[in-house]
């Protein structure tokens, strides 16, 4: 990969001087043409029902087209160029999808409103309603961070205790077996009764949802550590503290990360439900609010933000894992 990449860079710099046609990036050319076409269709083709923000959408498409054309002409050199090249086929696909979407909604009205808003309707939401979306994103993020943090911490501690102390395992295991498989949302009536504020109840629901997979996988990770590691550390003079922190935990780390990924996934699932009850901000709340008003453009806009946010969080967790588990070979990358 890196070898081929450096070859590209060298080619890029020399061709930058000579401007030979052969060094152009063909995919970029096609992609730019597609995005430019989307912009043209948006501006030139009359809409069934006139919509605002068509021009903003067209400008966005034109800007993407410009970037792709620039990459095509320069041959997309350097690190950014390499990423652009990698995204090239997707840029074409995405452009085609947007064009089709534009045509079947705004231009021909083939798909029924209000369930299928046009791309410019989404642009409208982002332009007009961004303060509320941003606020919701912030509220959801903060809720998720707190819930996931406490859930992961609790799950890790429980899993560690179960894996390390037989007595802890004896008492916790049946409880975990009983409570774990019950969806966290099923506890909502009790949780809202027990917790003083709906905000703290929401945090707890998310913590509950993420704690279970983290606990089970930490436990199985600790339990599956090669016994020889402990014997070796003991003969070298290790204390129990050292055995836990420097042997058991690092050895169980790959399992722990699987648990964290699963916990993060289930915390996303619970987030929407937790926000639909009680709280007055957050993406889940925004979704149910938009649905209640039949504002489907807002609904899709918020869904898109949520999808991007979740995927960003998973990416961050993968980065952390890649750093901590760089000693592993043959790791799955995100």
């Amino acid at each position: 990969m890196s070898g081929a990449g450096s070859a590209f860079e060298r080619e890029g710099t020399t061709s930058g001087i000579r401007w030979s046609f052969a060094s152009w990036w063909g995919t970029g050319l096609v992609g730019g043409a597609v995005w430019l076409a989307v912009a043209a269709v948006t501006v030139l083709w009359r809409e069934v029902i006139p919509l605002p923000y068509g021009d903003v959408f067209a400008w966005i498409c034109a800007a993407v087209a410009a970037v792709l054309f620039l990459g095509a002409i320069t041959g997309a050199p350097g690190r950014i160029g390499r990423r652009l090249r990698n995204a090239g086929p997707w840029a074409i696909a995405l452009g085609l999808f947007l064009g089709l979407w534009e045509i079947v909604t705004a231009k021909t009205g083939r798909l029924p409103l209000p369930f299928f808003p046009s791309p410019q309707a989404l642009v409208e939401v982002y332009v007009d309603d961004w303060p509320r979306l941003l606020d919701s994103l912030g509220a959801s993020g903060w809720l998720l961070v707190r819930g996931f943090f406490f859930g992961a911490l609790a799950g890790f501690s429980i899993g560690l205790a179960m894996g390390w102390w037989r007595r802890a395992g004896y008492w916790i295991h049946p409880v975990l077996r009983l409570i774990g498989p019950v969806p966290a949302t099923a506890w909502l009536p009790i949780i809202f009764f027990v917790f003083p504020t709906s905000a703290s109840a929401s945090v707890f629901v998310i913590a509950l949802a993420s704690a279970f997979p983290v606990a089970v996988l930490t436990w199985s990770g600790i339990a599956s550590v090669n016994r020889d590691y402990y014997d070796i550390a003991r003969t070298l003079g290790a204390s129990e503290r050292f055995l836990i922190l420097k042997v058991a935990v690092p050895a169980a780390l790959p399992h722990l990360f699987v648990g964290l990924f699963m916990g993060l996934g289930s915390s996303f699932a619970v987030l929407v439900v937790a926000e639909m009850l009680g709280v007055k901000s957050g993406l889940g709340w925004y979704l149910s609010w938009a649905q209640g008003w039949g504002a489907y453009a807002n609904l899709y806009a918020a869904l898109l933000v949520m999808a991007l946010a979740c995927s960003t969080l998973i990416t961050v967790l993968f980065r952390v894992r890649d750093r901590l588990l760089s000693w592993q070979k043959g790791m799955v990358r995100w």
Partner: protein, 266 residues
């Protein structure tokens, strides 16, 4: 016993190794609720600073004996004395080197070697010593490599360094070369002898390889099938460095195989 001491190579430091005394040791595991005897009334002693090999059929309890000496298990009956003291908890002065390298995969070579000092809180003070041992086993330049990047021989060297950095007085080797290819194995045998001669520690080696046992050690103790008893003791009265083609080794080999019931294959 006296003969073994006399064979001690002259260039070694004043013997700093521990003596071993094993008195009527029997050991049982409990398997499916039934006791499984692995050692039966085993008794022998080892001179400080000597090199002794234990051979016998697989699963006969030799490795168990090493675990008893390391303090990882305790005998069902009898006494295990190291340096005239009953073995209690595991201690860095008695180190067991396992069959596989069993390095910690999340630690670099240097951090693996530094494990003992780190566990005792002396990693900083022992920094120079750690680097020195890594050089001794021929791994300088690989300090920051991770175990999965090493070959089998290199990994086994790291595990040897991890033991040696603690200046053990008794080195318990449980088939340490068992998983290596034959060429690496021969090279590592020479290195083991060199390290033993230089440090003056007591070495106790469990192996399946009769030639390895005879080439390395001053005395070979032959065990019978489980529950293990001592079948024979062979004194290897050859000076170091030894030569693999030595006719005396071939003679001793025939004798050892005879004790193991494999004389016909010769």
């Amino acid at each position: 016993m006296v003969a073994a001491a006399a064979l001690r190579p002259p260039e070694a430091e004043a013997a700093s190794g521990f003596g071993i005394d094993i008195r009527d040791v029997s050991h049982r595991f409990v398997l499916d609720g039934k006791p499984l005897p692995v050692l039966d009334q085993v008794g022998f002693s080892v001179e400080p600073g000597s090199f002794t090999a234990l051979i016998g059929p697989s699963g006969c309890g030799k490795s168990t004996l090493l675990r008893l000496l390391a303090g990882l298990d305790h005998p069902s009956e009898g006494q295990v004395l190291v340096d005239n003291m009953p073995v209690g908890r595991p201690d860095p002065s008695r180190i067991l080197v396992f069959q596989g390298p069993t390095l910690f995969p999340w630690r670099s070579v240097r951090d693996n070697v530094a494990l003992g000092p780190e566990a005792r809180g002396t990693a900083k003070a022992d920094g120079a010593r750690i680097d020195e041992v890594i050089r001794t086993v021929g791994l300088d330049g690989f300090s920051s490599a991770y175990p999965h990047q090493l070959s089998g021989g290199m990994a086994q060297r790291v595990s040897l360094a991890r033991a040696l950095v603690n200046d053990p007085r008794l080195l318990l080797l449980d088939e340490p070369l068992g998983k290596l290819d034959s060429l690496t194995r021969l090279a590592m045998q020479e290195e083991l002898v060199a390290i033993w001669r230089r440090t003056g520690l007591t070495a106790l080696l469990v192996t399946h390889d009769v030639e390895e046992a005879l080439f390395l050690s001053q005395r070979v103790i032959v065990f019978g099938p489980r529950p293990a008893r001592i079948v024979a003791t062979i004194e290897v009265d050859l000076p170091y460095p030894r030569h693999r083609g030595d006719p005396r080794l071939a003679e001793l080999r025939r004798e050892a195989l005879g004790h193991l019931g494999l004389a016909e294959s010769w």
